[in-house]
Amino acid sequence: MKILVAVKRVVDYNVKVRAKADGTGVETANVKMSMNPFDEIAVEEAIRLQEAGKAQEIVAISLGVTACQDTIRTALAMGADRGILVETDAELQPLAVAKLLKAAVEKEKPDLVILGKQAIDDDANQTGQMLAALLGWPQGTFASKVELGDGTVNVTREVDGGLETVALKLPALVTADLRLNEPRFVKLPNIMKAKKKPLEVLKPADLGVDIAPRLVTLKVQEPPKRQAGIKVGSVAELVDKLHNEAHVI
């Protein structure tokens, strides 16, 4: 079977982001970018399925500016077979990404599509569900375990009260949660090899998709700052303050 994995280039998770002074967005100039952590987990899962002999080919796809090629190369260095970049400078919202991915799925005809459950920049947690909807495929979101069967996939999902397992008919879509796996480190020889792997570049227009944003961002600002309070010297003082000063216990 063939697996398509979608990866996003985002501000590195360790960076403390700042809103621009004019409120139009966040500072991304000269900020470290890397693959969205949930997408690394998605790539790792695809590779593990291939290593288990359950998948033949892994295609990694990313959408956005030219620099997203780096993100695809990272996926190739981890073990994906080839890459596709849908190149655009335009702002892409989840619905537009889902439509572009749908066009790519129709072109590539994978049996399984794996995405991260959310990107750590927009925190939307939508694209996978939207793509599944547009394709009419079943979805296994927030996956912590994926078991491929014959024509089906069982997905264990992280839900609010614990875990839930669903059986999906293939082709299906899975979004990865943090606990699905531990992504591997990329080794230098694999980075060199990844440079030789094929990477196709497409434009949204090639896929015939309207990517106009549906939401207008009016303002981006920092939330009210929380001030550090006081340090107490003992547990007894802490309990006293909570009882007599804060009145919370």
């Binding site: 925190d123 569900q129 992280e158 939401l215 007894a236 802490l238 909570l242």
Partner: protein, 316 residues
């Protein structure tokens, strides 16, 4: 404005997050319908009809709604969408699973984790792990959004007298089925609804040491939470996790024990009213947001806290 709220429930009782979502809906308009889709879920519909502010309850009862799988839920909601200007669900695992699917089928954007309603088309939501707030305006005919429960008070569970209408179930889509579940059993309050939360991090050392926190939690009537580090280390189940990728909580009192305070954790708890940090590292970032900080070894401080709470109780 005609608003459809999708109820979250387990076929027996309405989940509290639904009540916060109803409050958000009342900020948009008065014509509020609540959809209860499930199997043998009449009691939930009865409860929803009592909720203050709800004008109508729609009940869709069929075996294929028993576990509210997204494929069937989305098909049902899309069928009911016409005539509604807003479709809301709590930003819980269930709401986040279903609503983007609904939005895509309606060809509209979805707005995740709304924390403030500025007007019928303008909403505020956190991005970048809550480090930035974005105000967004929707140009779509139907606004489909999930609501962050902790940002809106719960609607009163009595005082309403909504009519209950039965809606015909949509046909079973048949591409997915429920296999089983493993729910965490606990007598303590639910994390997202608790007034007090005691959370542990990597500093707890192992799962057994969480008993120290459970002891304090029981004396306070608190829920027990955890940081991602504690969950990943296997100390506690993952549904304990508070943070960007876990649950977002805003209790009256949040006690962080052995938690350094990474931005991903702060995203899940920094709207708590009072934050207490107990950590032996006085440089830990958690102290930058804590109202009361205690630099101490938790293995000495937590048992002492337990004793002090006993004294407090004895003193009345």
């Amino acid at each position: 404005m005609s608003i459809l709220v999708i109820a979250e429930h387990d076929n027996v009782a309405l989940k509290p997050a639904t009540l916060n979502t109803v409050t958000a809906a009342t900020q948009l308009g008065e014509d509020i319908a609540v959809l209860v889709a499930g199997h043998n879920c009449g009691a939930v519909a009865e409860a929803a009809a009592q909720v203050a502010g709800v004008k109508k309850v729609l009940i869709a009862d069929a075996p294929h709604y028993a576990h509210q799988l997204a494929e069937n839920m989305a098909a049902l909601v899309v069928g009911l969408a016409s005539g509604h200007t807003h479709i809301l669900a709590p930003a819980t695992a269930a709401g986040k699973n279903t609503l983007p699917r609904v939005a895509a089928l309606l060809d509209v954007a979805q707005i995740t984790d709304v924390i403030k309603i500025d007007s019928a088309d303008t909403f505020v939501r956190p991005i970048y792990a809550g480090n930035v707030l974005a105000t967004v305006q929707s140009k779509d005919a139907v606004k489909v959004m999930t609501v962050r429960g902790t940002a809106f008070p719960a609607a009163t569970v009595t005082g309403g007298s909504a009519a209950i209408e039965t809606v015909a179930p949509a046909t079973d889509v048949g591409v997915s089925s429920f296999v089983g579940q493993q729910l965490t059993q606990s007598d303590r309050p639910e994390l997202t609804a608790a007034r007090i939360i005691v959370s542990g991090g990597r500093g707890m050392g192992n799962g057994d040491n969480f008993k120290l926190l459970e002891d304090v939690a029981d004396k306070l009537g608190a829920a027990v939470g955890a940081s991602r580090a504690a969950v990943d280390a296997g100390f506690v189940p993952n549904d304990y996790q508070v943070g960007q990728t876990g649950k977002v909580v805003a209790p009256t009192l949040y006690v962080a024990v052995g938690i350094s305070g990474a931005i991903q954790h702060l995203a899940g708890m920094k709207d708590s009213k009072v934050i207490v940090a107990i950590n032996k590292d006085e440089e830990a970032p958690i102290f930058q947001v804590a109202d009361y900080g205690l630099v101490a070894d938790l293995f000495a401080a937590v048992p002492e806290l337990s004793k002090e709470l006993d004294k407090l109780k004895a003193a009345g």
